[in-house]
Symmetry: C2
Subunit: 358 residues, 2 copies
DNA sequence: CAGTCTTCGGAGAACGTTTGCCATGGAAGG
DNA sequence: CCTTCCATGGCAAACGTTCTCCGAAGACTG
């Protein structure tokens, strides 16, 4: 029952291979009686079309390549899940490649995927500059969309969250909560989100305090840096000089900051508020839970999937599209004056949680 | 430069297609001069072999399918990464399918992958019973290895951590730390790890306290259940009756338990110790950091990859292999009497951390 | 020097599809 | 009744490889 081919079906149903193919693909009308015989034979023999042969003939594998920097980055699993859902719904399979934040490895994986004749690529570039040439070369061969991170202007279509809008949400919220001495804890890294979030902070924070835009500490997108940043900020300044809100460039930094703040005995959010970005599962698990900006992950994935179809390969000359999706603020315990942060929550077991089973 | 075929190379180097194929595959000796001409032409034209055609002819796609229950389960990203590394090192590509914990979807993905002619499958089954038939059917067609979770006996080769050994490590450690009133917080779920860890606890805990094996609370593998379990245990019993160690079936439960214990004002580890299982990144991030059992993730992945090669498809009749790898205990702050749990750690920024950047 | 190997190269048949083109036959139109 | 046309079905050529034959040498052996 393993290897039934079109040929077998043709023989069993007493017609030619072409006819069977046409019945299955519906590419041309076929007589009702014949079609019925064919379908019956397909059923009886348990015929399954061979995608490899189909791909060879039709020059389309129905496969798309997904290249990402680090699947262990807690923001990506949900993105990967949504993307695979969107693509599987469309009968496309996903070839996964993790490049461990290394642009060299990334280039290797991209060309390996091209060799495997993927129909298109979704790339989350590892490095804003160093990923450019490989991405540009690939984009010249197949439809390619950059997801989550950019890679310089005009390289390829891209889909990402509107970082500036997200940061604005945070700043508005903090302003409404009466915070005035903000400090940004960001990343100097090579991902485009790093720069965008930072400039959005610098542009928006001035409205609250002319000096706020200048209070910027840069490290990387890690928990460790969150801790280190707090160490630096808290030891450098007298109590009166300290910020009353830490605006972190992502949730990992926020969690690290929160951890150290608690260890130093600071009251969050009474004394200082902390905000994150992305809304990874960890943000809700921290104590206090982190106010953050939720990325519209499912929509980002769907948009990326949509973009791959709409580019008929020939129309390559068209301008690159850059789609930005609006995020939404998720207010949790780490901001807001009116709170007793470390007391048991009012409804202990009934609020929705991010869960997971193994 | 896009579509150079063997034929083009043959023409450019003045020999036949077969010869070119042979010099590239090394399948038969070829004269030195000819080989050089061929290689030169390959270089000049930028020839890249077409994997689809190769797959059709050689009946091997060099692709393996990876089917998992939920990529968002925090234990899986590292496993996926290690597995892709191991397979990519071997020139195999990985088709990813996430089945959202649904055995129906899982069956669908498995057969979709088979239709795409994957050379082999790695499956982390979603359900111990309901996944069986689909897995068994697939195992009859291609090499298949079950990873992390089982799926009933004799269905396919499997690779997993030795849960019993891991639990023994935990119990020994707790005994050494002088803990006597243990309580197991586990999962009643459908994953094989749930049952194995529980029976290992029941088997081993009696040595410390004849009543310990009886103290078992079952929920699921989630943070929420960890919280709920603590609520139940703490409210049900007077202070003197409470356990001095919570043995959790995985890290998520442990983190939830820890969170609620802190909210209830319990001293961890002074009053009660907490242990986890798996060593997901979150375990080190919790406060206090969770003592847990580290799964040998890279080795599990490597072993799975190795198992896929060694089965020459014909030898299907051989007995199923079940490989169990020994885990290792990672002692952190959540156990051990001698500790002031909530004080700043001595060397704040210098200990190794699990990091991650976006 | 004739015969038998060995070595290298080419022709061509697969692999399982899709699809362009032709053949047949009956219906419709003159 | 003869054309013209659909509607249907089959043949065969791709798609880009790999691999089995075969043949033509040259290298040995007796």
């Amino acid at each position: 029952m393993a290897d039934v081919t079109l040929h077998d079906v043709a023989r069993a149903s007493g017609c030619s291979v072409s006819t069977v193919s046409r019945v299955l693909a519906g590419s041309r009308p076929v007589g009702a009686a014949t079609a019925a015989r064919v379908r019956q034979a397909v059923e009886d023999l348990g015929y399954r079309p061979n995608h490899v042969a189909r791909a060879l003939r039709s020059r389309s594998t129905g496969t798309i390549g997904l290249v990402l920097p680090q699947i262990t980055n807690p923001f990506y699993p949900t993105l990967v899940r949504e993307l695979t859902y969107a693509l599987h719904a469309d009968e496309r399979a996903v070839l996964l490649a993790d490049c461990d934040d290394d642009p060299k490895a990334e280039a290797g994986h991209i060309s390996a995927l091209l060799d495997r004749q993927v129909d298109a690529l979704v790339v989350i570039p590892a490095h804003e500059q160093h990923s450019r040439t490989a991405v540009a070369a690939a984009a010249a061969r197949v439809p390619l969309v950059l997801l989550d991170r950019g890679c310089g202007p005009g390289v390829a279509d891209s889909v990402a969250v509107d970082n500036a809008a997200g940061m604005a949400l945070v700043l508005d919220h903090l302003a409404a909560e009466g915070r005035r001495r903000l400090c940004f804890v960001g990343a100097s890294g090579t991902a485009s989100a790093a720069a965008e979030r930072r400039t959005a902070y610098e542009a928006g924070a001035g409205a609250l305090d002319p000096e706020a835009p200048g209070r910027v500490a840069l490290g990387d997108f890690s928990v460790a840096w969150g801790r280190a940043a707090v160490d630096r900020i808290w030891t450098e300044r007298a109590a009166a000089q300290r910020p009353d809100a830490l605006v972190c460039a992502n949730d990992l930094i926020a969690v690290g900051a929160l951890q150290r703040l608690r260890q130093l005995g600071a009251d969050v959010p009474g004394e200082v508020a902390v905000t994150g970005f992305d809304d990874i599962p960890l943000a809700d698990l921290a104590d206090p839970a982190v106010t953050t900006v939720r990325q519209p992950v499912a929509e980002l994935a769907a948009e990326a999937a949509r973009l791959l179809d709409r580019r008929p390969v020939s129309e390559q000359a068209g301008p690159r599209r850059s789609i930005r999706l609006a995020p939404r603020l998720v207010v949790r315990a780490s901001t807001g004056r009116s709170s007793a942060s470390h007391t048991p929550k009012s409804a202990p077991a009934t609020r929705p949680e991010t869960e997971s089973a193994q």
